[in-house]
Symmetry: C3
């Protein structure tokens, strides 16, 4: 069995934002030499998400508005977590979008449908945060 | 390490619907010959979901109504993604239900609790769409 | 390839509650002898969840209130699933929080960010229920 472990660092300059990290993950699959296996990509922070969806700017805007409706940031005082912190909403938003994705590797590539792209979803940014990529297989 | 990769095709005749795909996945586990491992089942389209829940028609109806409340289809104009498209709500609904499941394989079978069943959740149907099954193990 | 399969049993004394199961899973990783691999942790029941978030009591309280807003328990009659049963809301809440987590194992340990902790989320308790831990790797 082969394996590869890498951490990706991001600093989103706003509180919330989405980054398309598909190419970076694809490069790591090549680097791993794994032809058949699984690729786990997960946020290492609990106020961020890794998810798969469409790389379309209108849709990413819809996600921002929708998540703010499901789990509004303000007023900060509505959440008990917000004593010294103000990011309770980020924990909730990340729960909707998910912590991780597991992607099949087939013939040495991410085995994707036509529009699948991997995103890092930041909900409490303006600081350096990490994503973990773990690849196992043969 | 053994592996198996298969694509399942579905065409749901309505915009939304749920299909129980448990038996098909179980057959693929047998076919793979894997006794101990992991089975990834994921939607290859970003307006569909694979999830595990109860095979009970009342509950599936509750899911339909609940998702429509959390992420209503109409009016289509409420979403920026809906220019040439009208399926923004499907992207959001799929985010709630999840893209994929990872199921343990133990003694050559899906290692399930008493009521776990795998569903394909379609949120933008009336077209042929795919699910990927990837099995790895020994 | 090495593998380990274990079932954890819990009985939460209330309808809803959260249990931090990180240490138990970490012990199973040690027991497995796997140095590089993947660890799947999933609820075996469809009214419970396994998720990763922060071990902070204010936040866990926020989750309880937020989930009750997104998928209220009462009135029970609002859900078709609630004929003989009264737990439709538990199926919906678990869908928001997720059935499973997949965690990387690196150098024989759960490869976690600074605040990641694994929780069992119970949404229909007062009975014995199970979590499955499946570890594969080398």
């Amino acid at each position: 069995m082969k394996s590869l472990t890498e951490q990706l660092w991001f600093e989103v300059p706003h509180r919330r934002g989405f980054l398309n990290i598909t190419e970076t993950v694809e490069e790591l699959v090549r680097k791993s030499g794994v032809k058949e296996g699984l690729c786990l990509v997960n946020a290492m922070h609990i106020t961020a998400s890794v998810f798969i969806n469409d790389n379309e700017s209108g849709l990413l805007n819809d996600f921002e508005l929708w998540l703010e409706k499901l789990a509004p940031e303000k007023p900060h005082s509505q959440y008990r977590h917000n004593g010294a912190e103000d990011n309770a909403d980020a924990h909730l938003k990340r729960s909707v979008m998910g912590r991780e994705v597991v992607v099949a590797i087939t013939n040495g590539r991410l085995d994707f449908g036509p529009w699948e792209q991997i995103f890092y979803g930041e909900f409490d940014g303006m600081r350096r945060k990490r994503v973990l990529v773990k690849i196992i297989g043969e």
